[in-house]
Amino acid sequence: MENVTNRPETASSAASRRSFLRVAGAAAVTGGLLTACSNADENSVTPTGSARAAGPTVSLPTGDNGILAFAYVLEQLEAAFYEMVLLKPYPNMSASDIALWTDIRGHEIIHRALFKAAVGKLVPDLTFNFSSIDFNNRADVLIHAEAFEKTGVGAYNGAGKYISNPDYLTLAGKIVSVETRHHSILRELQYPYSDAFAGPTIVTSDTGLHLAYEPTFVLPIAQKYINETLDASALVASLS
């Protein structure tokens, strides 16, 4: 069921996450950020693979702009991924699959354009490395699409409480439910006619709560695919 998410953590990814957390600031991490209500541990997307190529450092701003920038990073990542899916379509991609990827690609491009208008002067266009993904393999594309959507849903749900401007919070809410719709459909396509779209690995059985991830959990996952080096230390320190 969880081809990506239950992979054992490799030594290199564990090390890179540890170093990220050091950068992020131990005080912030232990002082409440990771103690908020979250089931990330049970539903973690664990970065795997070799160390990324080094690139220029991109420092995320603080406060609301920082959260918008964080969202912009994720939307850039998602949009670039779906652009690749349709740029390098796997063999015999069905008409219904083409329609699905075209819709989702469109949504993510639109989200990216929204955040570019908001914080494009603070965060550059990022470049990506998807070499760990086999775009010729439908199953691999579905697995990674699901993982990206899962990360996005958890990221928005976990970051909402850090947003000060209520209009930004509502805007994030408008987006996260669409990301969740993507995720739900991608689960259904992989495990049709089951409860996988919102089963216990996604939604807690006892409380009916979907995923929520702290930014400190999400950023290392995104970093795996981003050539530039994200520095979120100022952002993380500013969150409360």
Binding site: C37, I110, Y156, V176, T180, T207, H210
Partner: protein, 268 residues
């Protein structure tokens, strides 16, 4: 479903609630529990946080808000509890409806755990909506259409209240997570009905539903976000259509609108 109103109502009564909740949640509860424990104990934590803030007596206005939310969750749970095991549900869709039923049940429990003895009893419902849908529980097409409407509307209802919860961050996060659960349900029910998982445009017909529920979709045609008409801004990108811009954002509904929309399902 209007869990979000809870804290704004509390705030009107007691301006110190923010500090008290923050103290309880950060120091007294959350920091001493593992994340797994928190996930499993969320209803109890919420109830505990609120009860520690006010002792055993929640202000009446708070109870009213919580009971309103509970009434809406009762509506969904009762609908699925009655319908999800009926023979009219195709075998392929039973796992989905059983899961949704369970989620609505635990959402009810979450609210009841906060209200304790003050929780309202289950209201009486009319899933024919006053005769509008005479075959809700005998015709899967009707049942699934109502399910889609409830779920898509639930997403909008939670979204519309998010900003009211900003003063109570633990509860805001829980509400956002419930909101996402409703969206996951909505997409699945839409898909089984042959609809896209996302909402295109502001009429019921565009979601495969009769015009009688137009109000549940009104506003979803919006293409302006944060002051920018994204359909116009992206008109030069041949990968993007105005329909996609509508799909890319789910629009909120306010409390009064939601109440009016669900009123026909409450027995007269």
């Amino acid at each position: 479903m209007n869990l979000q109103n809870l804290i704004s109502e509390i705030e009107k009564v007691d301006g110190e609630i923010i500090d008290r909740l923050a103290h309880v949640s950060r120091r007294g509860l959350f920091s001493s529990l593992t994340k797994k424990t928190i996930a499993l104990a969320a209803p109890a934590i919420m109830a505990s946080a609120l009860n520690k803030s006010y002792g055993q007596a929640l202000p009446q206005s708070v109870k009213d808000v919580l009971n309103f939310a509970l009434a809406l969750e009762y509506l969904e749970f009762t609908f699925y509890d009655y319908g999800s095991n009926l023979a009219m549900i195709p075998k392929n869709y039973k796992p989905a409806f059983e899961l949704i039923r369970q989620h609505e049940q635990v959402h009810v429990r979450l609210l009841k755990s906060v209200l304790g003895a003050d929780a309202i009893p289950m209201p009486k419902f009319d899933f024919s909506a006053g005769g509008l849908f005479p075959d809700t529980f005998t015709n899967f097409a009707t049942f699934s259409a109502i399910a889609q409407t409830f779920e898509d509307t639930g997403v909008r209802a939670y979204k519309g209240q998010a900003a009211n919860l900003q003063i109570a961050k633990p509860i805001l996060q829980v509400a956002l997570q419930i909101h996402a659960t409703e969206a996951a349900h909505a997409a699945n029910v839409r898909y089984m009905r042959g609809q896209k998982g996302w909402i295109t445009g502001g009429t019921a017909a565009l979601s495969g539903l009769p015009s009688v529920v137009d109000g549940n979709y009104k506003g979803e045609e919006n293409t302006v976000q944060a002051g920018t008409d994204l359909a116009a801004a992206l008109a030069g990108d041949n990968r993007i259509t105005p329909a996609m811009v509508m799909q890319a954002f789910d629009e909120p509904l306010d409390k009064a609108t939601v109440l009016a929309l669900v009123a026909p399902f409450f027995a007269k």
